[in-house]
């Protein structure tokens, strides 16, 4: 027994020594200014998925950076947009957030409300980025993200093998859509589960989700009712969309040539170009015939956001990586690989963009878009719209009742956050 005791005590002494050693090392790390030379591991969470090549692109960037700076390694994790937001909040609460986020602008609302990210104005020269992209992450006079790409808007993407000229207005859309819907082929597909796909039409019917103050929900309006009715008609009256389709379902139908048109975002262009090649066409979402207004998809972009407490060597590495990702060469590389509009001013003027018909179509759609609200109240609006839009599309609620319920839920949710 004495022997065991001796061993245990020995371990105890050893462990306290080891812990003391660890502490010394940690404080030492803070003190060195030449932090860049020390091994740094960066946990990067990205919303880019594998299907459209985004995740591969992020990983390739990280690898290229590690090659140039062997002391910095990355752990790239893909999470879908909503999961990324939820997990980041939870991880921050637990005190172990990742080191860098690659995500959409509207996350700035909840993240700044909860005080989870730091402003980037003093860390980067933001004047080199496109103003409209930066505007999407400005809250309380500060910029909370560094733009990677500009746009993120929905647009009408079509398969030239099935439809030569895209419809210009909704009357045409229904007419052409009907002709193209037969057997297991559909005229149009879109993600019927997310209100992000409802918002462009709401704009087309002349509605907005907020009053002029930018934070009072205006969801129970004649415009919203008209929008919901229009979506309902698309499914039950004209029958040009599938009875049920989420993001992946719509995406697969379009890629397999079983859908002539899809409403999807700029992030999907790279993937479609690979599958359809020259048959890929991009146009504006058709004008709403009854109002004569172009639908207004939300525009924003993809951004780097930096967790609040990131500092020292990790912050330096993250800064270097962000500058690396948004330098001209890499921005043009992103244009080539992902077919997205760059956020760097100097890259935007490159002939590569001016001569590309797909990017031209994408930019044309962006002109009629509207900047996506970043305030926290938008979160409440999204959450309130989602179940009601689905209920209308499932034919379980009238557009009028759904609009009322949306407004009630949004107001209640905003109140609950106060």
């Amino acid at each position: 027994m004495k022997k065991i005791l001796a061993v245990l005590l020995g371990l105890l002494i050893f462990s306290s020594l080891a812990m003391a050693g660890g502490k010394q090392e940690a404080t030492g790390q803070k003190q060195t200014k030449e932090a860049v030379q020390k091994p740094v591991s960066i946990a990067l969470w990205t919303k880019e998925g594998e299907a459209d090549g985004g995740l591969q692109y992020v990983k390739a960037l990280a690898d290229a950076f590690t090659k140039a700076h062997p002391n910095v390694t990355f752990e790239v994790v893909n999470k879908n947009v909503e999961t990324l937001r939820e997990d980041f909040q939870t991880a921050s609460l637990a005190g172990s957030p990742p080191d860098l986020l690659w995500t959409v602008s509207d996350h700035a609302g909840p993240f700044t409300a909860a005080d989870l990210i730091q402003p980037v104005g003093n860390l980067f020269d933001l004047s080199k980025y496109v103003g409209s992209a930066l505007a999407a992450v400005k809250l309380n006079g500060k910029a909370w993200g560094v733009p990677i790409s500009n746009g993120n808007q929905l647009m009408l993407i079509y398969n030239k093998a099935l439809i030569a000229n895209p419809p210009k207005n909704t009357d045409e859309l229904m007419k052409v859509g009907k002709q193209l819907t037969h057997g297991d082929q559909y005229g149009l597909v879109w993600n019927q589960t997310e209100p992000f796909w409802l918002v462009p039409w709401l704009g087309g019917f002349g509605g907005k989700v907020f009053a002029a103050d930018g934070k009072t929900p205006t969801l129970d309006t004649p415009q919203m009712v008209a929008t919901l009715k229009f979506l309902h008609d698309m499914k039950y009256k004209y029958k040009i969309i599938p009875a049920e389709s989420d993001y992946n379902g719509a995406d697969t139908l379009f890629k397999e040539g079983k859908a002539a048109m899809i409403i999807n975002g700029d992030w999907s262009l790279g993937g479609y170009k690979k599958v359809l090649g020259d048959n890929l066409g991009v146009a504006r979402i058709p004008k709403v015939s009854s109002t004569g207004i172009w639908p207004k998809p939300y525009t924003s972009g993809v951004f780097f956001m930096i967790p609040k407490d990131l500092s020292g060597a990790k912050l330096e590495a993250v800064k270097a990586f962000i500058n690396f990702t948004t330098d001209k060469a890499n921005q043009l590389e992103m244009v080539k690989k992902l077919t997205r509009l760059p956020a760097l001013k100097s890259a935007l003027d490159d002939p590569l963009i001016k001569n590309d018909p797909i990017l031209k179509g994408s930019a044309d759609q962006m002109i009629v878009g509207t900047p996506m609200p970043t305030v926290l109240e938008m979160r409440s609006n999204w959450d309130a719209m989602k179940p009601e839009m689905q209920a209308v599309l499932a034919n379980k609620k009238s557009p009028e009742a759904a609009a009322k319920a949306m407004q009630r839920a949004a107001v209640a949710s905003i109140k609950a956050q106060q």
């Binding site: 027994m1 065991i4 005791l5 245990l8 005590l9 371990l11 105890l12 050893f14 462990s15 080891a18 812990m19 660890g22 591991s41 390694t73 909503e82 939820e86 909040q89 939870t90 609460l93 909840p110 409300a113 909860a114 005080d115 989870l116 297991d184 019927q192 589960t193 599938p242 009875a243 049920e244 389709s245 989420d246 379902g249 697969t252 139908l253 926290l376 979160r379 959450d383 309130a384 989602k386 179940p387 689905q390 599309l393 499932a394 379980k396 319920a405 839920a409 209640a412 949710s413 609950a416 956050q417 106060q418």
Partner: protein, 340 residues
């Protein structure tokens, strides 16, 4: 794609190695202190048992007891996104949270009591299917037959698959265009079903999945119980001229109840608290398919009402606690068969 190479293995070990070493050393330190205190100084006769239990006890305190107390604390706060790092605490806050649970929608539209009723309905459907199908299969397997081991293995497979993987696979099969269920329906001339957007069918889909998953567990437990019933009882009953149904009613069921009662309690609690199936099958996040625990998750992590959700969690705990006490009282389930 990276392949698993030595560098990655070394880096991964480097990342977790320190934590593992700290855990090992901390356990050693606890043991040493206990040894000195109990054995050497106090000469307590329970020194060894205490030492053996200590690491597990410390682990449980850190991973179970502490979070429960933390949650209890949050239940008395207004923690939300706007009050994320510096929430305010107070009895009034707790009372407000409690009031909100019963007077306002816990999610966007659905109120607490309809949600509770749906959860009870879900649990009742599941337990009745699990027990009846599980018992049926167990009785079928509890006979001399060829390839019994093989059948048993095949029947256990759903239970052996990690629940999340099973749920995600099933979710894929409920896809409107590409899922095999709708393909089969179309092939036999029926209309395809909107499994993900129609509230009724979504509820059916989650029930189908969980029945498939839950029956094997009940079958295995009940089979164990059946095998422990001595064949003498059946022989005696046969001599007395009891029919098959009489034997089942008067021998099998009573002798099985000490095994069945805890299995039903456990099954009820697990089903009542089953998160994976209702959450993952309900891809479109229909509120009409939410049960209490998935609503709790959404309130906390999607709608960021942390204080409210913590109070909500204690309400759910109370419901289950009352059920468990009542059930054990009513069935005497935890008593031995001869004690009744």
């Amino acid at each position: 794609m990276h392949s698993l190479n030595l560098v990655i293995i070394r880096n991964s070990l480097g990342q977790v190695g320190f934590t593992v070493i700290v855990i090992v050393l901390a356990s050693a330190a606890i043991e040493a202190v206990l040894y000195v205190a109990l054995k050497v100084i106090l000469k307590n006769k329970y020194a060894l048992p205490v030492m053996l239990l200590a690491p597990a006890a410390v682990g449980l305190i850190m991973l179970v007891v502490y979070p429960v107390f933390y949650e209890f604390k949050i239940a008395f706060s207004n923690m939300s996104l706007r009050h994320f790092k510096n929430p305010s605490y107070g009895l009034g806050r707790g009372w407000d949270n409690l009031k909100l649970i019963f007077t306002q929608p816990v999610l966007k539209q659905v109120m607490f009591f309809p949600l509770l009723l749906r959860t009870i309905l879900w649990t009742a459907i599941q337990i009745s299917f699990h027990v009846s199908l599980g018992l049926g299969l167990a009785i079928l397997l509890n006979r001399p037959m060829k390839l019994r081991g093989l059948y048993r293995t095949i029947l256990i497979i759903p239970w052996a698959i990690p629940q999340v993987i099973a749920a995600l696979t099933w979710r894929g099969e409920f896809q409107y265009q590409y899922g095999f269920i709708n393909i089969m329906l179309r092939d036999i001339g029926l209309a395809a079903i909107q499994w993900k957007s129609d509230p009724f069918w979504n509820f059916v889909a989650m029930n189908i999945t969980n029945i498939w998953l839950g029956v094997p567990f009940m079958m295995i437990i009940l089979l164990g119980g059946l095998q422990s019933i001595s064949s003498e009882y059946y022989e005696a009953a046969e001599i007395d001229g009891a029919s098959g149904w009489d034997r089942f009613k008067s021998i099998t069921l009573p002798m099985l109840s000490p095994v069945m009662a805890p299995a039903v309690i456990l099954g009820t609690i697990w089903t009542f608290n089953n998160f994976n199936i209702p959450f993952f099958i309900n891809e479109n996040e229909l509120e009409t398919s939410d049960i209490l625990v998935t609503a709790l998750f959404r309130a906390a992590f999607q709608y960021n009402r942390y204080g409210f959700a913590a109070a909500f969690a204690f309400v759910i705990f109370l419901v289950l606690f009352i059920f468990a006490v009542l059930y054990m009282r009513a069935t005497g389930g935890l008593k031995g068969v001869y004690e009744k």
